[in-house]
């Protein structure tokens, strides 16, 4: 029960952070990505503020075997820098640069009633499903249960 409540509250806090920081405004994100034009450095401040806090949290988390609720601590184990990582991230960057939206802000904007965000989210979910399909049937045909 306390887990569900904390997940809800953290999601809420995260959403509020996205709104306050201006990341739910695609114009602001694109303004940061427009180095050759009128450059809006705001996104750098968002990342800076986030990492300034996150750094300490993850330094602490690395030393622990369980989380503060006594449950499992799922830190990513993979260190592989492969084609998937680079190309996948590049594709994501292209989409991000086209619409100024990434998953988090898109979900919050959609919830705020932005119809364009809804369209983006539907397309994004479709893209994720394409990956699921490819992952299951093309890349790893031997393992049915991924």
């Amino acid at each position: 029960m306390k887990n569900r409540l904390s997940e809800l509250l953290v999601g809420l806090l995260f959403g509020l952070g996205l709104i306050l920081s201006g990341m739910t405004d695609p114009g602001k994100v694109l303004g940061f990505l427009d180095l050759a034009g009128a450059w809006d450095p705001s996104l750098a401040f968002v990342m800076g503020g986030a990492i300034a806090v996150g750094f300490f949290a993850f330094a602490l988390a690395k030393k622990r075997s369980v989380n503060f609720f006594g449950g499992a601590l799922h830190l990513p184990k993979s260190n592989a820098i492969d084609k998937r990582l680079v190309i996948g991230s590049a594709l994501f960057g292209a989409g991000w640069g086209l619409a100024g939206l990434c998953p988090g802000p898109a979900l919050v904007s959609m919830a705020a009633g932005q119809n364009k965000a809804l369209i983006f989210v539907v397309a994004m979910v479709a893209g994720m499903l394409i990956f699921e399909f490819a992952n299951r049937f093309i890349h790893r045909p031997a393992s049915a249960a991924v």
Binding site: L8, V10, G11, L12, F14, G17, L20, G22, P26, G27, K28, L33, G37, D40, S42, F45, M47, G48, G49, A50, I51, V53, G54, F56, F58, L60, F68, H74, L75, P76, R84, L85, V86, S89, A90, F92, G93, A94, G95, W96, G97, L101, C102, P103, G104, A106, V108, S109, K116, A123, M124, V125, A126, G127, M128, L129, I130, F131, E132, V146
Partner: protein, 147 residues
């Protein structure tokens, strides 16, 4: 390059970023999970028993944020209006690219950019450099070459 002083919001963006960082900190320390939206959402599309509820509740929390914002923030706080200029075809292509790309790349701005960099993960550094570079390039091409 000129600085867009009209839209630049150093304090709000810094404060918002700190909130994102606090959320990420709480999530890893209390829930034991990396706060990466593409992963949280993506995992819902191949649901495994016992691995669904936490995702749903987290996303529900995000969905409540705009309502909470309207309740918490006084009406006198006049932020500049949001700009959704992308056309329908662009939105669809962008969405598809983000959906496919974040899953292959195993993360996005929250997973790699915030959490990954906070962890000093070389993998996330490469991923972040990749999506940032292509993001910059994409906007440059659209606004200054083809636009």
């Amino acid at each position: 390059m000129t600085i867009d002083w009209i839209h630049f919001t150093p304090w709000a963006s810094l404060a918002g970023g700190v909130l994102l960082g606090v959320a990420s900190a709480l999530f890893i320390l209390f829930n034991g999970r990396v706060l990466g939206i593409s992963g949280i959402l993506g995992g819902l599309l191949s649901p495994k028993k016992g691995d669904v509820s936490w995702r749903v509740f987290f996303i529900l929390g995000m969905f409540v944020a705009p309502l909470a914002w309207n309740l918490l923030v006084p009406a006198s706080y006049a932020a500049t209006p949001v700009r959704f200029d992308a056309t329908l075809p662009v939105l669809i292509i962008a969405g598809l690219l983000v959906g496919v790309g974040t899953r292959y790349g195993a993360g996005c701005t929250s997973g790699h950019g915030v959490c990954g960099l906070s962890r000093l993960s070389p993998r996330s550094l490469v991923a972040t450099a990749s999506f940032m570079a292509v993001g910059f390039l994409t906007v440059y091409l659209i606004r200054h070459v083809f636009g």
